[in-house]
């Protein structure tokens, strides 16, 4: 069974981090499992954990009155779920639900924040990688906003 830090080495968001940093990050991590339909977190809850999906599919959704839960985006293996742990007030903006059985690595956000404050160099390295994830997520979302398949999209 691979240790967490060897598992992390090839994951895009931690790509290129030196071994000591990977070990530090791994120190804040543990493997978790969710059944299909289980909630990973809910909107408004304290955001002190983020997840790296290893297997399965997660739906990021928001409960809309009279409409029910509306899926905003689905995330698959290799993708990071959650970044509200990075910034105050450290509360989730969305619900996250396992669509299938999910195996993931859960990271203690508070623990990692502490390590970043102690070592700003690590903080910068993690911040720039998460910024990239955010930008990519935003880009895909913007493309959907264009509504290209609509009547006069092209």
């Amino acid at each position: 069974m691979e240790t967490i830090d060897t598992l992390l080495r090839d994951v895009p968001v931690f790509h290129g981090l030196p071994a000591e940093d990977l070990a530090l990050v791994a120190g804040c991590a543990q493997n978790v499992h969710f059944d299909a339909g289980a909630m990973l977190f809910r909107e408004g809850d304290e955001a002190d954990t983020f997840y790296l999906v290893r297997h399965g599919s997660i739906a990021l959704e928001m409960y809309v009155p009279a409409r029910g839960p509306a899926i905003i985006e689905t995330l698959e293996a290799g993708e990071v779920v959650g970044w509200s742990w990075l910034f105050p007030p450290y509360r989730w903006h969305f619900d996250a639900r396992a669509l299938t059985p999910v195996r993931a690595t859960a990271f203690d956000g508070a623990c990692l924040r502490g390590k970043c404050e102690d070592d700003p160099r690590l903080g910068y390295a993690l911040m720039s990688r998460f910024a990239q994830v955010l930008i990519e997520r935003l880009q895909w979302t913007r493309l959907r906003l264009l509504d290209l398949y609509g009547h006069d999209g092209s």
Partner: protein, 379 residues
């Protein structure tokens, strides 16, 4: 076939020429003065030619002026080109009816069988006809209407001795001397003895010439004709460096000149109407009250916003993009599409542009600050 290749005819023999062609069933078309311009229309006699007229042309300016002689072809080109006869501005393509059980009966428009004869075709115009031939009969599918009109057409070329203020055929390698593609070529000589040198370009040209009063050309006639054309080479109104315009335009699709010309261009499309090679058309589908449908093909200009419409909008909404499309097509992508430049240097677009935009000036301006390192448009 007469046993001489060059003959000389008197101006009066032109009447016999028109008569000989009409006698053979041709619809004879040629230049005439009308509404202050020299236009191409039906000719019943040589008396309708623009005798003693010349044109004064510049950007956005065209005036007829009286000559001091009685030259029949002492002008350059007017707003018309021969394309209006080979590619009519408006023709019906087919008619259709829905029959009893909901079926569809389509009847293609019968072809116009009347052969055409053009009198007064300049070298630039011969090149323009050849260029349009590539579009309509040179590809995988031939246009049946163009092919029918073109096939029997009898061309009487004239060599220019009086080029116009906006001419630049020398820069484009399309004149002033007609090199081929004609049945007969006339060079007007006005050195005291008004006469025409006639060169034969085809067997049927020779047959028609045989019906006219003529004499053999002398060395003196040949020299005089040569001098007239040679003189024309030095009287071009415009000049253009045509070196690799294809590459120049491909590299400069975002050149600032496009913004500059867009401030002047009205996107009126005059240039496309008078240009002898512009060939774009659109189709109109209509029905009448009796339930018959028909499709008509009409001239179209790439300057119209609708031209590039696809679901929801136009690909080229701005005037800037439409001017760029026309110019880069004419001098650049024509090469990619049809293996030739689209321009013959006739200058009509310069003369008939209401604001006098000069393509030679625009291209020179782009070349001046050519972005040679640019990779846009390049692979």
């Amino acid at each position: 076939m007469p046993d001489v290749t060059t003959s000389v005819i008197e101006p009066g023999a032109l009447d016999a020429l028109v008569g000989a062609l009409r006698g053979r069933g041709y619809r004879v078309l040629g230049p005439s003065v009308r509404d202050g311009a020299i236009v191409y229309d039906d000719l019943e006699s040589a008396g309708e030619l623009p005798v003693g007229w010349t044109d004064s042309q510049d950007g956005g300016r065209y005036r007829l002026e009286r000559r001091e002689d009685e030259a029949r072809f002492g002008y350059a080109v007017g707003p018309h080109s021969w394309k209006q006869f080979l590619l009519p501005p408006r023709i019906r393509l087919w008619q259709a009816r829905q029959n009893g059980d909901g079926g569809l009966e389509v009847e293609e428009e019968p072809l116009d069988e009347t052969p055409l004869a053009f009198i007064g075709v300049r070298s630039c115009e011969l090149h323009a006809i050849d260029i349009q031939d590539r579009v309509f009969v040179g590809g995988r599918v031939k246009d049946r209407d163009y092919a029918a009109r073109r096939e029997g057409a009898f061309l009487v070329a004239v060599n220019c001795f009086e080029p116009g203020g906006t001419c630049f055929c020398v820069s484009m390698g399309t004149g002033p001397k007609a090199e081929g593609g004609y049945d007969l070529a006339l060079t007007e000589i006005l050195d005291g003895e008004h006469r025409f040198l006639v060169e034969i370009g085809s067997e049927r040209g020779a047959e028609v010439l045989a019906e006219l009063p003529r004499r053999e050309a002398t060395a003196g006639d040949l020299e005089a004709a040569g001098a007239a054309v040679a003189g024309a080479v030095h009287k071009m109104g415009r000049q253009l460096d045509a070196t690799d315009l294809h590459g120049l335009l491909r590299r400069n699709l975002e050149h600032p000149r496009w913004d500059e010309v867009a401030e002047r261009c009205l996107t009126c499309g005059n240039c496309t109407m008078v240009c002898p090679t512009c060939f774009c058309t659109s189709v109109e589908d209509t029905t009448d009250l009796d339930g018959n449908a028909e499709r008509t093909r009409v001239w179209e200009t790439c300057y119209s916003v609708d031209y590039s419409y696809i679901h929801g909008g136009a690909i080229r909404p701005s005037g800037r993009s439409r001017y760029r499309q026309w110019l880069t097509h004419k001098f650049g992508t024509w090469h990619d599409q049809f293996d030739t430049s689209g321009c013959v240097g006739c200058g009509r677009c310069i003369t008939w542009c209401p604001v006098g935009i000069d393509v030679t000036e625009e291209l020179s301006a782009i070349r001046l600050t050519d972005d040679e390192e640019a990779t846009n448009g390049d692979h």
